[in-house]
Amino acid sequence: MRGKCWKFGDHVDTDQIIPARYLNVSDPVELAAHCMEGADAKFPKKVRRGDLIAAGENFGCGSSREHAPLCIKQAGVACVIAKSFARIFFRNAINIGLPILECPQGVEAIAEGDEVEVDLAAGKVRHLGTGKTFSTAPFPRELQEIITAGGLMNYARQTARK
Protein backbone atom coordinates (compact mmCIF):
# COMPACT_ATOMS: atom_id res chain seq x y z
CA MET A 1 0.00 0.00 0.00
CA ARG A 2 1.12 3.57 -0.64
CA GLY A 3 -0.29 6.84 0.54
CA LYS A 4 0.12 10.26 2.07
CA CYS A 5 1.04 10.53 5.75
CA TRP A 6 -0.57 12.52 8.52
CA LYS A 7 1.93 13.12 11.30
CA PHE A 8 1.17 13.03 15.05
CA GLY A 9 3.37 13.28 18.14
CA ASP A 10 3.97 11.08 21.21
CA HIS A 11 1.31 9.72 23.57
CA VAL A 12 -1.72 10.37 21.37
CA ASP A 13 -4.38 9.02 23.74
CA THR A 14 -7.70 7.41 22.95
CA ASP A 15 -9.58 10.49 24.17
CA GLN A 16 -7.90 12.39 21.33
CA ILE A 17 -8.56 9.62 18.80
CA ILE A 18 -12.26 9.42 19.69
CA PRO A 19 -13.49 11.57 22.60
CA ALA A 20 -15.72 9.69 25.05
CA ARG A 21 -18.69 11.98 24.38
CA TYR A 22 -19.14 10.13 21.07
CA LEU A 23 -19.06 6.65 22.60
CA ASN A 24 -22.81 6.47 23.05
CA VAL A 25 -22.90 4.74 19.63
CA SER A 26 -21.15 1.70 18.15
CA ASP A 27 -21.67 2.56 14.47
CA PRO A 28 -18.23 2.88 12.79
CA VAL A 29 -19.53 5.48 10.29
CA GLU A 30 -20.76 7.79 13.07
CA LEU A 31 -17.53 7.26 14.99
CA ALA A 32 -15.35 7.98 11.94
CA ALA A 33 -16.94 11.42 11.64
CA HIS A 34 -14.98 12.34 14.81
CA CYS A 35 -11.76 10.43 14.11
CA MET A 36 -8.67 12.07 15.71
CA GLU A 37 -10.84 15.09 16.56
CA GLY A 38 -9.12 15.64 19.92
CA ALA A 39 -5.72 15.93 18.22
CA ASP A 40 -6.82 17.75 15.04
CA ALA A 41 -10.43 18.95 14.83
CA LYS A 42 -10.29 19.07 11.01
CA PHE A 43 -8.85 15.58 10.54
CA PRO A 44 -12.17 13.82 9.71
CA LYS A 45 -12.70 16.29 6.83
CA LYS A 46 -9.09 16.19 5.59
CA VAL A 47 -8.34 12.48 5.65
CA ARG A 48 -8.74 10.54 2.38
CA ARG A 49 -9.12 6.82 1.84
CA GLY A 50 -5.68 5.22 1.58
CA ASP A 51 -3.90 7.87 3.70
CA LEU A 52 -1.55 6.75 6.46
CA ILE A 53 -0.91 7.94 10.00
CA ALA A 54 2.67 8.29 11.27
CA ALA A 55 2.83 8.82 15.03
CA GLY A 56 5.34 8.91 17.86
CA GLU A 57 5.67 6.81 21.00
CA ASN A 58 2.82 5.08 22.82
CA PHE A 59 0.12 5.74 20.20
CA GLY A 60 -3.37 4.94 21.51
CA CYS A 61 -2.58 5.10 25.22
CA GLY A 62 -5.41 5.31 27.72
CA SER A 63 -8.76 3.64 27.39
CA SER A 64 -9.54 0.18 26.01
CA ARG A 65 -12.13 1.60 23.60
CA GLU A 66 -11.98 -0.36 20.38
CA HIS A 67 -13.87 2.56 18.90
CA ALA A 68 -10.39 4.13 18.48
CA PRO A 69 -8.85 1.75 15.92
CA LEU A 70 -12.34 1.17 14.50
CA CYS A 71 -12.90 4.85 13.65
CA ILE A 72 -9.40 5.12 12.14
CA LYS A 73 -10.08 2.08 9.97
CA GLN A 74 -13.51 3.35 8.95
CA ALA A 75 -12.07 6.80 8.10
CA GLY A 76 -10.08 5.04 5.40
CA VAL A 77 -6.63 5.11 7.00
CA ALA A 78 -4.73 2.26 5.37
CA CYS A 79 -2.05 1.82 8.03
CA VAL A 80 -0.80 3.38 11.26
CA ILE A 81 2.97 3.55 11.59
CA ALA A 82 4.20 4.51 15.07
CA LYS A 83 7.39 4.50 17.08
CA SER A 84 5.46 2.36 19.56
CA PHE A 85 1.86 1.48 20.43
CA ALA A 86 0.06 1.34 23.76
CA ARG A 87 -0.75 -2.30 24.41
CA ILE A 88 -4.56 -2.33 24.32
CA PHE A 89 -4.62 -0.24 21.13
CA PHE A 90 -2.07 -2.67 19.67
CA ARG A 91 -4.17 -5.75 20.37
CA ASN A 92 -7.37 -4.03 19.28
CA ALA A 93 -5.80 -3.08 15.93
CA ILE A 94 -4.62 -6.66 15.39
CA ASN A 95 -8.00 -8.04 16.48
CA ILE A 96 -10.06 -5.86 14.10
CA GLY A 97 -7.60 -6.02 11.20
CA LEU A 98 -6.34 -2.41 11.18
CA PRO A 99 -2.83 -2.62 9.69
CA ILE A 100 -0.15 -1.27 12.05
CA LEU A 101 3.64 -1.18 12.05
CA GLU A 102 6.15 -0.25 14.72
CA CYS A 103 8.93 1.56 12.88
CA PRO A 104 10.71 4.29 14.92
CA GLN A 105 13.27 5.23 12.25
CA GLY A 106 10.60 5.37 9.58
CA VAL A 107 8.44 7.71 11.66
CA GLU A 108 11.49 9.89 12.36
CA ALA A 109 12.06 10.28 8.60
CA ILE A 110 8.43 11.05 7.70
CA ALA A 111 7.01 14.59 7.64
CA GLU A 112 3.33 15.48 7.25
CA GLY A 113 2.25 15.08 3.65
CA ASP A 114 5.11 12.74 2.68
CA GLU A 115 4.22 9.78 0.53
CA VAL A 116 5.30 6.36 1.71
CA GLU A 117 4.90 2.77 0.61
CA VAL A 118 4.33 0.05 3.19
CA ASP A 119 4.92 -3.66 2.73
CA LEU A 120 3.24 -5.16 5.78
CA ALA A 121 4.28 -8.76 5.20
CA ALA A 122 7.93 -7.79 4.76
CA GLY A 123 7.75 -5.15 7.52
CA LYS A 124 9.15 -2.43 5.27
CA VAL A 125 8.39 1.30 5.02
CA ARG A 126 9.71 3.13 1.95
CA HIS A 127 9.82 6.92 1.83
CA LEU A 128 8.89 7.76 -1.76
CA GLY A 129 10.44 11.23 -1.57
CA THR A 130 13.91 10.13 -0.48
CA GLY A 131 13.76 6.54 -1.62
CA LYS A 132 14.96 5.37 1.80
CA THR A 133 13.62 2.07 3.13
CA PHE A 134 13.13 1.26 6.80
CA SER A 135 12.76 -2.28 8.09
CA THR A 136 10.94 -3.50 11.16
CA ALA A 137 10.93 -6.82 12.96
CA PRO A 138 8.00 -8.91 11.68
CA PHE A 139 5.18 -9.75 14.09
CA PRO A 140 5.42 -13.12 15.87
CA ARG A 141 3.79 -16.08 14.13
CA GLU A 142 0.80 -16.12 16.50
CA LEU A 143 -0.09 -12.54 15.58
CA GLN A 144 0.58 -13.07 11.85
CA GLU A 145 -2.06 -15.81 11.93
CA ILE A 146 -4.67 -13.43 13.37
CA ILE A 147 -3.69 -10.68 10.91
CA THR A 148 -3.77 -13.05 7.93
CA ALA A 149 -7.22 -14.29 8.93
CA GLY A 150 -8.46 -10.68 8.89
CA GLY A 151 -8.89 -10.30 12.63
CA LEU A 152 -9.60 -12.30 15.76
CA MET A 153 -13.22 -13.26 15.07
CA ASN A 154 -12.33 -14.60 11.62
CA TYR A 155 -9.36 -16.39 13.13
CA ALA A 156 -11.52 -17.91 15.88
CA ARG A 157 -14.07 -19.05 13.27
CA GLN A 158 -11.38 -20.58 11.03
CA THR A 159 -9.65 -22.40 13.85
CA ALA A 160 -13.00 -23.65 15.15
CA ARG A 161 -13.68 -25.18 11.73
CA LYS A 162 -10.38 -27.05 11.61
Partner: protein
Protein backbone atom coordinates in the same frame (compact mmCIF):
# COMPACT_ATOMS: atom_id res chain seq x y z
CA UNK B 1 14.74 -19.77 37.79
CA UNK B 2 11.62 -18.90 39.75
CA UNK B 3 8.46 -17.22 38.53
CA UNK B 4 6.63 -14.01 39.40
CA UNK B 5 2.99 -13.94 40.57
CA UNK B 6 1.95 -12.81 37.11
CA UNK B 7 3.83 -15.66 35.39
CA UNK B 8 2.42 -18.22 37.86
CA UNK B 9 -1.19 -17.13 37.35
CA UNK B 10 -0.82 -17.11 33.55
CA UNK B 11 0.87 -20.55 33.58
CA UNK B 12 -1.84 -22.00 35.83
CA UNK B 13 -4.49 -20.76 33.39
CA UNK B 14 -2.70 -22.07 30.28
CA UNK B 15 -2.18 -25.68 31.34
CA UNK B 16 1.56 -25.11 31.71
CA UNK B 17 3.95 -25.67 34.58
CA UNK B 18 5.88 -22.53 33.64
CA UNK B 19 5.82 -19.63 31.20
CA UNK B 20 8.43 -17.05 30.20
CA UNK B 21 8.15 -13.38 29.29
CA UNK B 22 7.46 -12.99 25.58
CA UNK B 23 5.74 -16.37 25.28
CA UNK B 24 2.29 -16.49 23.63
CA UNK B 25 -0.49 -18.37 25.38
CA UNK B 26 -4.21 -18.87 25.00
CA UNK B 27 -5.28 -18.56 28.62
CA UNK B 28 -8.48 -19.71 30.34
CA UNK B 29 -10.39 -16.73 31.69
CA UNK B 30 -12.12 -16.81 35.08
CA UNK B 31 -14.10 -13.59 34.61
CA UNK B 32 -14.70 -11.52 31.44
CA UNK B 33 -16.13 -8.02 31.92
CA UNK B 34 -17.85 -5.51 29.67
CA UNK B 35 -19.62 -2.21 30.27
CA UNK B 36 -22.20 -0.05 28.52
CA UNK B 37 -19.56 1.40 26.15
CA UNK B 38 -17.54 -1.70 25.29
CA UNK B 39 -20.05 -4.56 25.60
CA UNK B 40 -22.35 -3.34 22.79
CA UNK B 41 -19.46 -3.60 20.27
CA UNK B 42 -18.62 -7.05 21.62
CA UNK B 43 -22.23 -8.17 21.36
CA UNK B 44 -22.39 -6.94 17.75
CA UNK B 45 -19.22 -8.93 16.97
CA UNK B 46 -20.49 -12.00 18.79
CA UNK B 47 -23.81 -12.01 16.99
CA UNK B 48 -22.40 -11.01 13.59
CA UNK B 49 -20.10 -14.04 13.79
CA UNK B 50 -23.21 -16.21 14.12
CA UNK B 51 -22.31 -17.36 17.62
CA UNK B 52 -25.24 -18.57 19.66
CA UNK B 53 -24.22 -19.30 23.24
CA UNK B 54 -21.64 -17.82 25.58
CA UNK B 55 -19.11 -20.32 26.96
CA UNK B 56 -20.34 -19.93 30.55
CA UNK B 57 -23.09 -17.48 31.61
CA UNK B 58 -21.62 -17.47 35.13
CA UNK B 59 -18.22 -16.15 34.02
CA UNK B 60 -19.33 -13.05 32.13
CA UNK B 61 -20.01 -9.78 33.91
CA UNK B 62 -21.92 -6.93 32.27
CA UNK B 63 -22.08 -3.62 34.14
CA UNK B 64 -23.84 -0.52 32.83
CA UNK B 65 -21.86 2.23 34.59
CA UNK B 66 -20.34 4.75 32.20
CA UNK B 67 -23.34 6.70 30.89
CA UNK B 68 -25.90 5.41 33.40
CA UNK B 69 -28.51 6.15 34.60
CA UNK B 70 -28.64 6.80 30.87
CA UNK B 71 -27.81 10.34 29.89
CA UNK B 72 -29.41 10.37 26.44
CA UNK B 73 -31.34 8.27 23.95
CA UNK B 74 -28.27 6.81 22.24
CA UNK B 75 -26.72 5.62 25.48
CA UNK B 76 -30.09 4.20 26.53
CA UNK B 77 -30.09 2.13 23.33
CA UNK B 78 -26.65 0.79 24.22
CA UNK B 79 -27.84 -0.26 27.68
CA UNK B 80 -30.97 -1.80 26.17
CA UNK B 81 -28.78 -3.97 23.93
CA UNK B 82 -26.75 -5.26 26.90
CA UNK B 83 -29.95 -5.91 28.85
CA UNK B 84 -31.43 -7.92 25.97
CA UNK B 85 -28.22 -9.94 25.52
CA UNK B 86 -27.92 -10.61 29.26
CA UNK B 87 -31.49 -11.90 29.36
CA UNK B 88 -31.14 -14.10 26.26
CA UNK B 89 -27.80 -15.55 27.39
CA UNK B 90 -28.94 -15.84 31.03
CA UNK B 91 -25.85 -13.95 32.23
CA UNK B 92 -25.58 -14.41 36.01
CA UNK B 93 -23.59 -11.25 36.66
CA UNK B 94 -25.68 -8.65 34.90
CA UNK B 95 -26.58 -5.84 37.26
CA UNK B 96 -29.16 -3.20 36.56
CA UNK B 97 -28.76 0.46 37.51
CA UNK B 98 -29.39 0.80 41.23
CA UNK B 99 -27.98 -2.67 41.91
CA UNK B 100 -24.33 -2.12 41.11
CA UNK B 101 -22.07 0.90 40.65
CA UNK B 102 -18.70 1.51 39.00
CA UNK B 103 -17.46 -1.86 37.73
CA UNK B 104 -13.97 -1.77 39.26
CA UNK B 105 -15.31 -0.92 42.69
CA UNK B 106 -18.23 -3.34 42.42
CA UNK B 107 -16.50 -6.56 41.26
CA UNK B 108 -13.99 -6.82 44.15
CA UNK B 109 -16.56 -5.54 46.67
CA UNK B 110 -18.98 -8.31 45.74
CA UNK B 111 -16.27 -10.99 45.57
CA UNK B 112 -17.01 -11.64 41.87
CA UNK B 113 -13.25 -11.52 41.22
CA UNK B 114 -11.02 -13.36 43.73
CA UNK B 115 -7.28 -13.71 44.41
CA UNK B 116 -5.51 -15.96 41.90
CA UNK B 117 -8.05 -15.24 39.13
CA UNK B 118 -7.23 -14.44 35.53
CA UNK B 119 -9.58 -11.61 34.57
CA UNK B 120 -10.02 -9.72 31.32
CA UNK B 121 -12.19 -6.66 30.99
CA UNK B 122 -13.12 -4.51 28.04
CA UNK B 123 -12.11 -1.52 30.11
CA UNK B 124 -8.56 -0.36 30.63
CA UNK B 125 -8.92 -0.01 34.40
CA UNK B 126 -9.57 -3.74 34.78
CA UNK B 127 -5.99 -3.80 36.13
CA UNK B 128 -7.53 -2.59 39.44
CA UNK B 129 -8.09 -6.20 40.59
CA UNK B 130 -4.35 -6.77 40.84
CA UNK B 131 -4.83 -5.29 44.31
CA UNK B 132 -6.44 -8.53 45.51
CA UNK B 133 -3.72 -10.67 43.94
CA UNK B 134 -5.46 -11.46 40.64
CA UNK B 135 -4.00 -11.15 37.15
CA UNK B 136 -6.37 -8.64 35.56
CA UNK B 137 -5.90 -6.76 32.32
CA UNK B 138 -7.79 -4.46 30.01
CA UNK B 139 -8.63 -5.67 26.51
CA UNK B 140 -10.89 -4.58 23.65
CA UNK B 141 -14.40 -5.46 22.63
CA UNK B 142 -13.33 -8.06 20.07
CA UNK B 143 -11.26 -9.80 22.75
CA UNK B 144 -14.38 -9.82 24.92
CA UNK B 145 -16.49 -11.19 22.05
CA UNK B 146 -14.01 -14.00 21.35
CA UNK B 147 -13.72 -14.76 25.06
CA UNK B 148 -17.50 -14.86 25.49
CA UNK B 149 -17.48 -17.61 22.84
CA UNK B 150 -14.39 -19.57 23.84
CA UNK B 151 -13.58 -18.68 27.45
CA UNK B 152 -10.03 -17.87 26.35
CA UNK B 153 -7.83 -14.88 25.58
CA UNK B 154 -4.52 -14.57 23.73
CA UNK B 155 -1.78 -13.15 25.90
CA UNK B 156 1.88 -12.48 25.58
CA UNK B 157 3.49 -13.15 28.97
CA UNK B 158 4.75 -9.77 30.21
CA UNK B 159 8.14 -9.18 31.80
CA UNK B 160 7.75 -7.96 35.38
CA UNK B 161 8.95 -4.79 37.06
CA UNK B 162 9.12 -4.76 40.85
CA UNK B 163 8.28 -1.69 42.91
CA UNK B 164 9.18 -1.65 46.61
CA UNK B 165 7.87 1.14 48.82
CA UNK B 166 9.75 1.66 52.09
CA UNK B 167 9.60 4.05 55.02
CA UNK B 168 6.51 5.49 56.67
CA UNK B 169 3.82 7.04 54.48
CA UNK B 170 3.10 10.57 55.78
CA UNK B 171 -0.36 11.73 56.81
CA UNK B 172 -2.84 12.50 53.99
CA UNK B 173 -1.09 10.24 51.50
CA UNK B 174 -2.51 7.02 50.10
CA UNK B 175 -2.38 4.61 47.18
CA UNK B 176 -3.19 7.41 44.75
CA UNK B 177 -0.17 9.47 45.77
CA UNK B 178 2.08 6.41 45.44
CA UNK B 179 0.86 5.62 41.95
CA UNK B 180 1.05 9.24 40.74
CA UNK B 181 4.58 9.44 42.14
CA UNK B 182 5.48 6.17 40.39
CA UNK B 183 4.08 7.27 37.02
CA UNK B 184 5.93 10.57 37.48
CA UNK B 185 9.15 8.59 37.88
CA UNK B 186 8.77 6.05 35.06
CA UNK B 187 6.48 7.90 32.62
CA UNK B 188 3.19 7.02 30.93
CA UNK B 189 4.93 4.30 28.92
CA UNK B 190 7.41 3.30 31.60
CA UNK B 191 5.73 -0.08 32.11
CA UNK B 192 4.36 -0.53 28.59
CA UNK B 193 3.46 -4.23 27.94
CA UNK B 194 4.85 -5.09 31.40
CA UNK B 195 3.61 -6.30 34.78
CA UNK B 196 4.01 -3.94 37.73
CA UNK B 197 4.48 -5.99 40.88
CA UNK B 198 4.06 -3.76 43.90
CA UNK B 199 5.13 -4.50 47.47
CA UNK B 200 7.22 -3.54 50.46
CA UNK B 201 6.43 -2.44 54.03
CA UNK B 202 4.35 0.59 52.97
CA UNK B 203 2.07 -1.59 50.84
CA UNK B 204 1.74 -4.13 53.68
CA UNK B 205 0.28 -1.28 55.75
CA UNK B 206 -2.27 -0.14 53.13
CA UNK B 207 -5.89 -1.20 53.38
CA UNK B 208 -7.62 -2.70 50.35
CA UNK B 209 -9.21 0.58 49.20
CA UNK B 210 -5.75 2.17 48.96
CA UNK B 211 -4.34 -0.85 47.15
CA UNK B 212 -7.20 -0.80 44.65
CA UNK B 213 -6.53 2.90 43.96
CA UNK B 214 -2.86 2.11 43.36
CA UNK B 215 -3.33 -0.84 40.99
CA UNK B 216 -6.14 1.01 39.20
CA UNK B 217 -3.64 3.35 37.56
CA UNK B 218 -1.05 0.75 36.45
CA UNK B 219 -2.50 1.27 32.95
CA UNK B 220 -1.52 4.94 33.20
CA UNK B 221 2.10 3.75 33.15
CA UNK B 222 1.23 1.60 30.12
CA UNK B 223 1.29 -1.63 32.14
CA UNK B 224 -0.48 -4.83 31.23
CA UNK B 225 -1.30 -5.37 34.89
CA UNK B 226 -0.46 -4.16 38.38
CA UNK B 227 -0.35 -6.76 41.11
CA UNK B 228 0.07 -7.02 44.87
CA UNK B 229 0.61 -10.43 46.48
CA UNK B 230 -2.33 -11.53 48.62
CA UNK B 231 -1.60 -11.22 52.35
CA UNK B 232 -3.55 -11.03 55.61
CA UNK B 233 -5.17 -7.72 54.53
CA UNK B 234 -6.38 -9.53 51.41
CA UNK B 235 -7.58 -12.54 53.40
CA UNK B 236 -9.55 -10.31 55.75
CA UNK B 237 -11.05 -8.40 52.80
CA UNK B 238 -12.10 -11.59 51.05
CA UNK B 239 -13.80 -13.05 54.13
CA UNK B 240 -17.56 -13.04 53.53
CA UNK B 241 -17.01 -11.66 49.99
CA UNK B 242 -15.25 -14.20 47.78
CA UNK B 243 -17.83 -16.03 45.65
CA UNK B 244 -15.23 -18.66 44.68
CA UNK B 245 -12.29 -20.03 46.70
CA UNK B 246 -9.41 -17.50 46.67
CA UNK B 247 -5.95 -18.74 45.63
CA UNK B 248 -2.99 -17.02 47.21
CA UNK B 249 -0.06 -16.72 44.79
CA UNK B 250 3.37 -15.29 45.61
CA UNK B 251 6.50 -14.68 43.54
CA UNK B 252 9.45 -17.01 44.05
CA UNK B 253 12.46 -15.53 45.80
CA UNK B 254 14.50 -16.09 42.62
CA UNK B 255 11.82 -14.73 40.25
CA UNK B 256 13.18 -12.62 37.40
CA UNK B 257 12.47 -8.88 37.17
CA UNK B 258 13.42 -6.63 34.33
CA UNK B 259 14.03 -3.86 36.88
CA UNK B 260 13.51 -3.25 40.58
CA UNK B 261 12.61 0.20 41.90
CA UNK B 262 12.93 0.89 45.62
CA UNK B 263 11.71 4.14 47.03
CA UNK B 264 11.59 5.52 50.56
CA UNK B 265 8.39 7.54 50.70
CA UNK B 266 8.77 8.94 54.24
CA UNK B 267 9.21 12.48 52.93
CA UNK B 268 6.81 12.31 50.01
CA UNK B 269 4.32 15.16 49.59
CA UNK B 270 0.75 14.62 48.42
CA UNK B 271 0.95 14.34 44.63
CA UNK B 272 -0.86 16.30 41.91
CA UNK B 273 -0.63 15.42 38.20
CA UNK B 274 -0.76 18.45 35.92
CA UNK B 275 -2.46 18.43 32.51
CA UNK B 276 -2.34 16.65 30.14
CA UNK B 277 -0.60 13.43 31.18
CA UNK B 278 -0.65 11.46 34.47
CA UNK B 279 3.17 11.46 34.42
CA UNK B 280 3.20 15.21 35.19
CA UNK B 281 3.20 14.48 38.92
CA UNK B 282 4.32 17.26 41.28
CA UNK B 283 4.34 17.78 45.05
CA UNK B 284 1.17 19.66 46.01
CA UNK B 285 3.31 22.53 47.34
CA UNK B 286 4.32 23.39 43.77
CA UNK B 287 0.69 23.75 42.66
CA UNK B 288 -0.77 25.90 45.41
CA UNK B 289 -1.75 28.94 43.33
CA UNK B 290 -3.77 27.05 40.76
CA UNK B 291 -7.40 28.19 40.93
CA UNK B 292 -10.25 25.75 40.32
CA UNK B 293 -13.77 25.73 38.88
CA UNK B 294 -14.69 22.18 39.87
CA UNK B 295 -13.59 19.38 42.20
CA UNK B 296 -14.61 15.76 41.61
CA UNK B 297 -14.28 13.14 44.33
CA UNK B 298 -15.12 9.66 43.06
CA UNK B 299 -14.37 7.22 40.18
CA UNK B 300 -13.00 3.68 40.01
CA UNK B 301 -9.79 5.10 41.47
CA UNK B 302 -11.02 6.98 44.55
CA UNK B 303 -14.75 6.51 45.12
CA UNK B 304 -14.50 4.01 48.00
CA UNK B 305 -15.25 4.31 51.73
CA UNK B 306 -11.67 5.20 52.71
CA UNK B 307 -11.69 8.04 50.16
CA UNK B 308 -15.08 9.37 51.27
CA UNK B 309 -14.08 9.20 54.95
CA UNK B 310 -10.86 11.12 54.24
CA UNK B 311 -12.75 13.80 52.29
CA UNK B 312 -15.51 14.07 54.91
CA UNK B 313 -12.99 14.46 57.75
CA UNK B 314 -11.68 17.58 56.00
CA UNK B 315 -15.04 18.99 54.87
CA UNK B 316 -16.89 18.36 58.15
CA UNK B 317 -18.68 21.46 59.43
CA UNK B 318 -17.31 23.71 56.67
CA UNK B 319 -18.43 25.15 53.36
CA UNK B 320 -16.76 24.75 49.99
CA UNK B 321 -15.21 27.87 48.46
CA UNK B 322 -17.52 30.43 46.80
CA UNK B 323 -17.75 30.01 43.04
CA UNK B 324 -16.53 26.40 43.16
CA UNK B 325 -18.56 23.29 42.24
CA UNK B 326 -17.82 20.07 44.11
CA UNK B 327 -19.18 16.72 42.98
CA UNK B 328 -18.93 13.64 45.20
CA UNK B 329 -19.70 10.24 43.68
CA UNK B 330 -19.75 7.13 45.88
CA UNK B 331 -18.58 4.28 43.63
CA UNK B 332 -21.21 1.66 44.45
CA UNK B 333 -24.64 1.40 46.01
CA UNK B 334 -23.12 -0.37 49.03
CA UNK B 335 -20.63 2.49 49.51
CA UNK B 336 -23.42 5.05 49.01
CA UNK B 337 -25.48 3.40 51.74
CA UNK B 338 -22.55 3.04 54.11
CA UNK B 339 -21.61 6.71 53.56
CA UNK B 340 -25.18 7.65 54.39
CA UNK B 341 -25.19 5.58 57.57
CA UNK B 342 -21.89 7.09 58.70
CA UNK B 343 -23.26 10.60 58.12
CA UNK B 344 -20.76 11.39 55.35
CA UNK B 345 -23.39 12.35 52.79
CA UNK B 346 -24.78 14.88 55.23
CA UNK B 347 -21.32 16.40 55.66
CA UNK B 348 -20.92 16.71 51.87
CA UNK B 349 -24.36 18.19 51.33
CA UNK B 350 -23.98 20.63 54.23
CA UNK B 351 -20.64 21.67 52.73
CA UNK B 352 -22.69 22.44 49.56
CA UNK B 353 -21.29 19.66 47.40
CA UNK B 354 -23.37 17.67 44.92
CA UNK B 355 -23.71 13.99 45.86
CA UNK B 356 -24.41 11.81 42.83
CA UNK B 357 -25.59 8.27 42.37
CA UNK B 358 -22.73 5.88 41.41
CA UNK B 359 -21.54 6.46 37.82
CA UNK B 360 -18.32 6.96 35.85
CA UNK B 361 -20.00 10.16 34.62
CA UNK B 362 -17.61 13.12 34.65
CA UNK B 363 -14.34 11.12 34.74
CA UNK B 364 -14.57 10.55 30.99
CA UNK B 365 -16.53 13.70 30.21
CA UNK B 366 -19.73 11.69 29.94
CA UNK B 367 -22.14 13.73 32.05
CA UNK B 368 -22.68 14.85 35.67
CA UNK B 369 -19.97 17.49 35.64
CA UNK B 370 -18.70 18.14 32.09
CA UNK B 371 -16.32 21.12 31.76
CA UNK B 372 -16.73 24.17 29.50
CA UNK B 373 -13.88 25.77 27.53
CA UNK B 374 -11.23 27.25 29.80
CA UNK B 375 -12.51 25.54 32.96
CA UNK B 376 -10.21 23.71 35.33
CA UNK B 377 -11.03 20.71 37.50
CA UNK B 378 -9.15 18.94 40.27
CA UNK B 379 -10.25 15.31 40.37
CA UNK B 380 -9.53 12.07 42.18
CA UNK B 381 -10.05 10.34 38.81
CA UNK B 382 -7.32 8.71 36.73
CA UNK B 383 -6.82 10.61 33.47
CA UNK B 384 -6.04 14.23 32.66
CA UNK B 385 -5.79 13.91 28.88
CA UNK B 386 -6.81 16.78 26.58
CA UNK B 387 -10.60 17.10 26.72
CA UNK B 388 -10.97 14.17 29.09
CA UNK B 389 -13.64 15.84 31.23
CA UNK B 390 -15.25 17.94 28.54
CA UNK B 391 -14.15 20.75 26.23
CA UNK B 392 -10.75 20.25 24.54
CA UNK B 393 -9.73 23.59 26.09
CA UNK B 394 -10.56 22.51 29.65
CA UNK B 395 -8.01 21.16 32.13
CA UNK B 396 -7.93 18.27 34.61
CA UNK B 397 -5.52 17.97 37.53
CA UNK B 398 -5.33 14.62 39.35
CA UNK B 399 -4.90 14.04 43.08
CA UNK B 400 -6.01 11.94 46.04
CA UNK B 401 -9.11 12.58 48.17
CA UNK B 402 -7.36 14.61 50.90
CA UNK B 403 -5.97 17.21 48.50
CA UNK B 404 -9.29 17.29 46.63
CA UNK B 405 -11.23 18.00 49.84
CA UNK B 406 -8.75 20.59 51.12
CA UNK B 407 -8.83 22.34 47.74
CA UNK B 408 -12.63 22.27 47.80
CA UNK B 409 -12.47 24.54 50.85
CA UNK B 410 -10.10 27.10 49.31
CA UNK B 411 -10.95 26.97 45.59
CA UNK B 412 -7.28 26.45 44.69
CA UNK B 413 -4.98 23.43 44.92
CA UNK B 414 -4.23 23.11 48.62
CA UNK B 415 -2.17 20.92 50.96
CA UNK B 416 -4.50 19.35 53.57
CA UNK B 417 -2.21 20.63 56.36
CA UNK B 418 -3.17 24.19 55.40
CA UNK B 419 -6.84 23.69 56.28
CA UNK B 420 -6.39 21.13 59.08
CA UNK B 421 -4.04 23.02 61.42
Amino acid sequence: MGMTITEKIIAAHSGKSRVQPGEFVYADVDIALGNDITAPLAIHEFEAAGLRKVFDPGRIVLIPDHFTPNKDIKSAEQSKLIRRFAREQEITHYYEVGRCGIEHAFLPEQGIVVPGDLVIGADSHTCTYGAIGAFATGVGSTDLAACMATGKVWLRVPPSLRFVFKGALPQWLGGKDLVLFTIGKIGVDGARYKAMEIGGPVIAGLNMDERLALCNMAIEAGAKNGIIAADNVTAEYEENRAQRPPKSVASDSDARYEAVHEWDVSKLSPQVALPHLPENARPVEECRDIRLDQVVIGSCTNGRMTDLRTAAAILKGRKIAPGLRVIVIPATQEIYLQAMEEGLLKIFIQAEAVVSTPTCGPCLGGYMGVLAAGERALATTNRNFVGRMGHPKSEVYLCGPAVAAASALTGRITHPDEVMK
